[in-house]
C-alpha cells in the first residue's frame, strides 16, 4: 500500500499532478505540512516504511532521490549524463528495496531492527517544534486573506528550522513551471557546500 502525500499548501498546485497520475492508492494533500511535523521530515521526496502492525521499520528518509540537479550546467541547461545515470540507479535501488520488503516482509535485508530504526530516527528540537507552529499559523493566515502577517510567520518558521526545505520552498516564489527554483533557491543550495540536499539513503547498493 502506498500513501502519497503532497506537501502543498495550495491544493490547486497538487491537483494536476494527481489527476495526471491517477493513482489507485490514496493521494492526499497536506496543506499545513502536518506529516513533516509528525515525522520530522524536511524535504521531498521522503518516505517511511510502516509494517502491518503500524510500526516504523524504516524511519523518514530520502526516498531514493539523488541530487543530480546540483550539477546543472546553466548555459546548456543540462545535467551531465553520469549524474543522470547515478540518479536513475539510486531511484531503481530504492524501488527494488521497497519491492523486496513487500515480498519478504521482515526478512527483507532493508528492514531495520527496532534498535537500528530508533537510532536512525531524527527527532525534532524545540526550535523545530516552534517552527511548525509558526508554519501552521502562517498558512492559516494566508488562507484567510492575511497574507502579510502570514508571510511573517512562514519566515519565522524558516528561521527556526533552516534545514527544512519543505518550509522554505513552500513559502518561496514559484516560477512559470510552479517550481521554487529561483536565484534564492540556488543561493541556498550552493550554501550547502559539501552538505547534501538529498542525504544518501542508508541502504545496500545505494550510490553516494
Amino acid at each position: 500500500m502506498v500513501i502519497a502525500v503532497a506537501m502543498d499548501s495550495r491544493e490547486d498546485a497538487a491537483r494536476p499532478w494527481i489527476e495526471a497520475a491517477a493513482p489507485a492508492y490514496p493521494a492526499l494533500i497536506d496543506r499545513d505540512h502536518r506529516l513533516a511535523e509528525l515525522y520530522n521530515m524536511v524535504n521531498v521526496p521522503q518516505a517511511a516504511w510502516i509494517d502491518e502492525s503500524g510500526r516504523i521499520v524504516r524511519p523518514a528518509e530520502n526516498a531514493g532521490a539523488y541530487e543530480a540537479f546540483r550539477s546543472l550546467d546553466f548555459e546548456t541547461m543540462t545535467v551531465p549524463e553520469d549524474k543522470m545515470a547515478t540518479a536513475a540507479a539510486a531511484k531503481a535501488t530504492y524501488v527494488d528495496a521497497v519491492r523486496d520488503w513487500v515480498l519478504t516482509g521482515r526478512d527483507s535485508s532493508h528492514v531495520f531492527t527496532a534498535e537500528q530504526a530508533s537510532a536512525r530516527t531524527a527527532v525534532p528540537s524545540e526550535e523545530i517544534a516552534r517552527a511548525h507552529c509558526h508554519f501552521r499559523l502562517g498558512q492559516f493566515l494566508l488562507r484567510h486573506d492575511r497574507a502579510e502577517e502570514g508571510r511573517e510567520h512562514l519566515a519565522e518558521a524558516s528561521r527556526l528550522h533552516p534545514r527544512s526545505w519543505n518550509i522554505w520552498r513552500q513559502a518561496a516564489e514559484v516560477n512559470d513551471m510552479g517550481l521554487a527554483a529561483g536565484p534564492d533557491f540556488w543561493d541556498r543550495v550552493n550554501a550547502l557546500g559539501d552538505d547534501y540536499y538529498y542525504p544518501p539513503v542508508d541502504m545496500a547498493g545505494m550510490p553516494k
Binding site: M1, V2, I3, A4, V5, A6, M7, D8, E11, A13, A14, W17, E19, P26, A27, L28, I29, R34, L35, L38, Y39, N40, V44, P45, Q46, A47, W49, I50, E52, S53, G54, R55, I56, V57, P59, A63, W101, A117, S118, T121, V123, P124, E126, A129, R130, C133, H134, R136, L137, F140, L141, E149, E156, R169, Q170, A172, V174, G178, L179, A180
Partner: protein, 135 residues
C-alpha cells in the same frame, strides 16, 4: 471568535479578550486534550499543577489560560498579532519519544475530493508513506 490550531484539529472557540488564551475548561479540553482538574491541567496520566504563587494567571472561574500553561510547560505555540489565532503544538520531547517508540504517528489528511484518509485505516497492510510536492 478565536481559532485554536492543535494536534486535534482546528477549533473555533469563545475566548476572553485580553492577555493570554482564556477558554472555558470544557472548550479547552475539546481543543487540546488537556483538562482542568483539581490537580492541575491534565492529559492522560500527566498533570501539570497550577503554580501556587500565580494561580490566577493560569485558572480562574472555570476557565483556563492555555497560553500560560503552554509557556509553563515549555510547549511550542504561536499566535497572530491580534491574538485571535493560536497554534498550540506538541512538546518536541513528546514528539521525539513518539518517534523513537517506532509506533507510526497516525494522521488524517484529505484527498482531492476532501475525503479524509487515516494511516490507521490501513492497519494490516504494509504502508509506504511517501511525500512529494509540486514546488
Amino acid at each position: 471568535m478565536t481559532t485554536v490550531l492543535s494536534d486535534l484539529g482546528e477549533f473555533s472557540v469563545d475566548a476572553d479578550g485580553g492577555e493570554g488564551l482564556w477558554l472555558g475548561a470544557g472548550e479547552a479540553a475539546a481543543a487540546t486534550g488537556w483538562s482542568l482538574k483539581p490537580e492541575g491541567l491534565c492529559r492522560g496520566d500527566v498533570c501539570v499543577p497550577v503554580p501556587n504563587d500565580r494561580a490566577q494567571a493560569f485558572a480562574a472561574d472555570g476557565k483556563v489560560n492555555l497560553a500560560a500553561f503552554w509557556d509553563h510547560m515549555s510547549m511550542p505555540a504561536a499566535h497572530s498579532r491580534e491574538g485571535d489565532v493560536w497554534a498550540l503544538g506538541e512538546a518536541s520531547a513528546v514528539r521525539a519519544n513518539d518517534l523513537r517508540s517506532l509506533q507510526a504517528p497516525d494522521f488524517t489528511l484529505p484527498d482531492l475530493n476532501g475525503v479524509g484518509h487515516s494511516l490507521s485505516d490501513h492497519r494490516g497492510k504494509k504502508v509506504l508513506l511517501a511525500t512529494w510536492a509540486s514546488w
